[in-house]
C-alpha cells in the first residue's frame, strides 16, 4: 500500500510547527499505525533527517501512551481502538493521511506529535486515590458489593488516560476523563469514604488546567478507545452537586 502522510512537525514547545508531507511506499496492510510510522522513521533516518517523534509504550492498547489525531479522529477511524492497535488495512491505498497531535491548551505540544499530558496527572494527584494503609490485602468478602456496581466501577476504571476525550471534544473538555477517574472510586465502598472531597478537588484541578467546559455533544464517548460512557459524566455532576450541598465544615 502507498500513502501520502501529512505530519505535524514541531521542533519544541517554543517553536512554531508546520505540516510536512511524506510519500510512503510499500506499506504492509498488516502493519499497525505505529509500525507504519517506525517504517517511515527508518527511511527518514537513512536520509539523515530527524525522525518523527511520537509517544508509544505497550503497543497493545492498555498503556494510554499513544494517541494521534488521524484524519480528524483521535486514534483514527476505528471505534474502540487505540492508535497502536489500528492497522493500515483500515485505510485506502493511495490515501492521504493527516496526522496531528492532540490540540488543547492543557496539552501543549512538546515535540512533533507528542503532547504534555501532565495536566491529567495533576487531576489525579488532586484526589484520584483512596487513603488506605498499605499492607496485606484485606479480606475481600468483608466489603459486600453487587456485581452490577463492581462491573460499572470497572468500566470506569478501564480509562487509560490517553486524552482522546479531550482531543475529540469540540470544547477540549476533560469531563470524561475526570468522570471516569471519579466514578471508579465513587461507586465502591473503599472509595465512597472520601467521595465528596475527591470530586471537589479533582473538578477544581480540572478547571485550573484550562480545559474547556462540557456541552454534552458526547464526542468523547464516541472516540474513547475504551468505550467509556458519558453516564459517568452525569454521575460526576451528581457527585459534584451533592458535595457542594452536603459539604461539612472541618471540625
Amino acid at each position: 500500500m502507498d500513502f501520502t502522510l501529512k505530519i505535524w512537525r514541531q521542533k519544541n514547545a517554543q517553536t512554531k510547527g508546520s505540516f510536512k508531507t511524506y510519500p510512503l511506499k510499500d506499506v504492509s496492510p498488516e502493519m499497525s499505525f505505529l509500525e507504519m510510522l517506525d517504517y517511515l522513521n527508518k527511511q527518514i533516518i537513512e536520509q539523515g533527517d530527524e525522525p518523527v517523534t511520537f509517544e508509544h509504550d505497550c503497543r497493545e492498547g492498555i498503556c494510554g501512551s499513544c494517541g494521534l489525531y488521524i484524519n480528524g479522529r483521535p486514534h483514527g477511524p476505528m471505534r474502540n481502538t487505540t492508535t497502536c492497535e489500528l492497522h493500515m488495512r483500515e485505510f485506502k491505498d493511495g490515501e492521504t493521511i493527516v496526522i496531528e497531535p492532540w490540540r488543547s491548551r492543557a496539552f501543549p505540544v512538546i515535540k512533533d506529535l507528542v503532547v504534555d499530558r501532565s495536566s491529567f496527572e495533576r487531576i489525579m494527584h488532586a484526589g484520584g486515590f483512596i487513603s488506605a494503609n498499605t499492607g496485606t490485602a484485606p479480606e475481600s468478602n468483608s466489603n459486600p458489593i453487587s456485581k452490577l456496581i463492581a462491573d460499572k466501577a470497572f468500566d470506569a476504571a478501564a480509562c487509560i488516560g490517553c486524552g482522546a476525550c479531550v482531543a475529540a471534544c469540540q470544547n477540549s473538555s476533560a469531563m470524561l476523563y475526570a468522570a471516569a477517574k471519579i466514578a471508579q472510586y465513587a461507586m465502591i465502598p473503599q472509595g465512597k469514604v472520601e467521595a465528596k472531597e475527591r470530586v471537589d478537588k479533582m473538578v477544581k484541578q480540572m478547571d485550573a488546567e484550562g480545559f474547556g467546559f462540557c456541552s454534552n455533544t458526547y464526542g468523547c464517548e464516541f472516540d474513547c478507545p475504551k468505550g467509556i460512557s458519558v453516564d459517568f459524566i452525569a454521575l460526576m455532576n451528581r457527585e459534584f452537586f451533592s458535595s457542594k450541598v452536603c459539604k461539612q465544615k472541618q471540625a
Binding site: 501529512k6 505535524w8 505540516f19 489525531y69 484524519n71 480528524g72 479522529r73 483521535p74 493527516v98 496531528e100 490540540r103 488543547s104 491548551r105 492543557a106 505540544v109 475529540a168 469540540q170 470544547n171 477540549s172 473538555s173 484550562g210 480545559f211 474547556g212 467546559f213 462540557c214 456541552s215 454534552n216 455533544t217 458526547y218 464526542g219 464516541f222 472516540d223 458519558v230 453516564d231 459524566i233 452525569a234 454521575l235 460526576m236 455532576n237 451528581r238 457527585e239 459534584f240 452537586f241
Partner: protein
C-alpha cells in the same frame, strides 16, 4: 446553564399555552383576558423579573462558555473533527445567537410596545391600546417578512431545544439507564411541540385570518 435553561423551557410552555388562546374563534377575547390577567397579576409581575434574570443568566453563561471553550484550544486542528456528534449539540451557540436576535425582534414587536418604548404599530385605531397584543399580532403576521422571520426562528428554537432538554438532565446529573431514553424521547416531542405550536400562530394569522 441547565437550571436557567429548564426555567426558560417551563416559561415556553406557559407562553405557548397563552398564545394558543389566539386560535379561539372569538376575535381574541379569551387571549386578551389572559393577557389582562398576566399583566395585572402581582405574582406574574414578580415572575417577570425572574424571567429576565433567567434569560440574562442563560445568555451570559452561554457566551462565557463559548469564550472559555474557544480559548481551551488555541491551536485549531488542520483537519476538522470527524467525530460523530449530533448536529443539534454542535451548533447550540449558533442556534442560541439566532434565538437571541429573534428575541430582540420579538420584544420590540410586542413587549416594548407595552412598556411604551416603541410606538403602537399600525394605523390609528387598528390597535386598541398598548396591551392589545391580539391586534398587534394580526398586523405583524399579515406581513410575510415578519411571519417568515418568526417561522425560521421557531425552527432554530426547535433545534436548540432538541439538544437542550436531555442535555439539562445530563448536566444536573439526572441520568438513569431506565429513564434517560424516555427523557430523550420526551425532549424530542417537547422540541417539536414547542416549535410547531408557536409556528401555528403566524401561519394562522397570515392565511386564515
Amino acid at each position: 446553564m441547565a437550571l436557567a435553561g429548564i426555567f426558560l423551557m417551563l416559561f415556553l410552555i406557559f407562553h405557548l399555552a397563552t398564545n394558543l388562546l389566539m386560535l379561539a374563534r372569538d376575535d381574541g377575547e379569551a387571549f386578551s383576558e389572559a393577557v389582562k390577567f398576566l399583566t395585572e397579576n402581582p405574582v406574574v409581575k414578580i415572575m417577570e423579573y425572574f424571567l429576565f434574570a433567567g434569560f440574562l443568566i442563560h445568555i451570559i453563561l452561554g457566551l462565557l462558555l463559548k469564550l472559555q471553550n474557544y480559548m481551551a484550544r488555541p491551536v485549531k486542528y488542520h483537519k476538522s473533527l470527524q467525530t460523530e456528534t449530533s448536529t443539534f449539540s454542535r451548533f447550540m451557540f449558533h442556534t442560541g445567537v439566532i434565538i437571541l436576535i429573534f428575541l430582540i425582534i420579538h420584544l420590540i414587536n410586542f413587549f416594548f410596545v407595552r412598556l411604551g418604548w416603541v410606538p403602537i404599530p399600525g394605523e390609528a385605531g387598528e390597535v386598541a391600546n398598548k396591551h392589545d397584543f391580539y391586534s398587534m399580532a394580526q398586523i405583524w403576521f399579515k406581513n410575510p417578512w415578519y411571519s417568515a422571520i418568526y417561522l425560521v426562528s421557531f425552527v432554530f428554537l426547535g433545534f436548540h431545544l432538541k439538544h437542550a432538554f436531555q442535555s439539562a438532565f445530563q448536566s444536573l446529573g439526572l441520568n438513569h439507564t431506565k429513564y434517560t431514553p424516555v427523557i430523550k424521547v420526551i425532549g424530542t416531542i417537547y422540541a417539536i411541540a414547542i416549535s410547531v405550536g408557536f409556528a401555528i400562530i403566524p401561519v394562522y394569522f397570515y392565511f386564515f385570518h
